[in-house]
Assembly symmetry: C2
Homo-oligomer: 332 residues x 2
């Protein structure tokens, strides 16, 4: 594990619940990792777990203070730094996905060294990854691929892990982005890996496993997104998935950040992703579809999901509304 | 320009001509950049250009000592370092694509700083690249894509530049690997760029240009190579090519470095590369095929090229045997 558990979630002076979405993700998906939350005056987010001081958290066994909040104005404020210093002095590591790196703060760096504690900036690769060797690994792998960025690929893989475990199937969510790493305590920040080692880092993340074990790999980018498609293809070829799940958001008007670029159809995504996945795993299949219907009414969502299911001939769910149980069934 | 011209080519104690293939590339493709060569006792390579001392080279205007030879045993030897120091003292920059970085040699680093000279390790990105924005640029772009790595993509683009210029068509070879950078003095070391910025670095490399100007972009990796496919796709989406040239080596038994992986057919490469290129440039076409027939006899090569041309319905040449003239014609 990259991060030692359990965590104290640092919410700081989060302006609103959205600013604390990393903390919310940890609370939703790994509640057993959270001993409590640390909030400062002006905090408008609440995970509904105990408010603890640094000392109380340490007494409850907290090993890592996780920065679960986005900072304002691109600096780490003095009031945050004071808390981080207190945590280091009390024996905790600190983990963060902020743009401003913890290791770039001289006060923190010196204190961490003095106390033998770790500052873990999950945006920065913490490992030297190999070049991919394309050798087939044991165990099964499922990858979420999207028509676009930010269409619910991480959520889908998380929900799928939950549904698989409910069924008694051994399964592990494999994080490939910073939020996923903070939530699960492990993973690779794929978008920060040097080009030559991208696919190798994904092989490293999803090693040999039991025959009946599923790695549920968090997707990144989209094959159809001009800015990030290379990352997506490295994920497909490094992950060598046995199963693909197509992810989509039905109300988006153009590719995220790329006005003028239309989203591909689910058929186009299916055909392109499958052809590329079969280069490394000829047995790969598309097994289901996950749609983020947050922008639709209950009724609209129902109709949309049913229509897609009929058109594509694949189980189609919104894992947030419906759970990922039908996708888990499809993986069998 | 990243590298100041003209160059003095450093051949050192090259064990054989193959060890000096970077120097050979510069001599073949940019003879006008070479004032001479610098050889040491035991050198078994010869570019057939004047042997010059450091001082003579400076008098002839040399601005950069280019390391055109691979080193042995993974260290930069003392005899090399002495020459590099002399070059820095005489006012030259030094450029290198060696694994061992020039900037990691304390003696060189100190001397370069003292003299205000540059140590340019072309394996290391020398620029902060943007994230790709997918905006259409003016001018035309052609990209070489391969069934595998090392099938002649760089050579093809270089030869194409030569043929285009012969025809009076404005054209620029755009290097995306270290050898290409050393040859042309400019470019991006794409395999060393951080994932998120790969496609953006290619956009940066191939900016707006005159309507009739062609960028001839050096290909990297292969869409079908599990280790490097992500780099290839970033090149396709960042380059947004108007034309693709398929590159192939007909005697290879498996993908380079990946035993058990068969090479794709030219048809499979055509279809996959074109579908992906049309995501960013719907007008993109496959215009020709370049085959490295070095392992075939003259007669075998002729037959093979003719067969491929008939089967694929596209001009098919070995640019080393035949020049790239027919590919240049196809770009019109």
């Amino acid at each position: 594990m990259l991060l030692k558990t359990p965590y104290l979630l640092f919410l700081g002076d989060a302006a609103d619940p959205l600013a604390a979405k990393v903390a919310q993700g940890i609370k939703d998906w790994r509640p057993e990792h959270c001993v409590g939350q640390f909030r400062q005056p002006g905090c408008n987010a609440d995970m509904n777990i105990p408010d603890l001081s640094i000392d109380e958290a340490v007494q409850k066994g907290a090993k890592t203070l996780v920065v679960g909040v986005a900072n304002r104005g691109g600096v780490i404020s003095d009031s945050w730094l004071s808390v981080f210093e207190e945590a280091l002095n009390a024996g905790m590591d600190i983990a963060s996905g902020l743009h401003n790196l913890l290791v770039d703060e001289p006060r923190l760096k010196a204190l961490a060294e003095k106390n033998g504690r770790a500052l873990i900036d999950v945006r920065v690769p913490q490992h030297e990854y190999p070049i991919a060797n394309g050798v087939k690994r044991k165990g099964k792998r499922c990858l979420a691929v999207g028509t676009d960025c930010s269409v619910g690929k991480m959520y889908t893989a998380m929900a799928l892990e939950q549904s698989m475990k409910k069924r008694g199937v051994p399964a592990t969510f494999r994080a490939t982005g910073q939020t996923g790493i903070l939530i699960t305590g492990n993973g690779i920040p794929l978008d920060a890996v040097v080009a030559d080692f991208m696919a190798g880092s994904v092989e490293w993340l999803t090693p040999d496993n039991d025959d009946n074990h599923w790695d549920l790999i968090e997707g990144q980018g989209s094959l159809f997104h001009a800015s990030y498609s290379g990352v997506t293809l490295a994920l497909i070829h490094g992950g060598a998935p046995d199963a693909l799940i197509l992810c989509h958001e039905p109300t988006r008007e153009h590719m995220r950040g790329l006005p003028g670029y239309a989203l591909p159809s689910l058929e186009a995504l299916r055909d392109m992703a499958l052809s590329l996945a079969q280069v490394v795993n000829p047995e790969c299949k598309v097994v289901g579809i996950s749609v983020n219907t947050a922008a639709l009414s209950e009724e609209e969502a129902k109709t949309y999901l049913a229509d897609v299911e009929t058109k594509m001939g694949l189980p189609t769910v919104d894992p947030f509304r419906d759970s990922a149980d039908r996708l888990a069934d499809a993986l069998k």
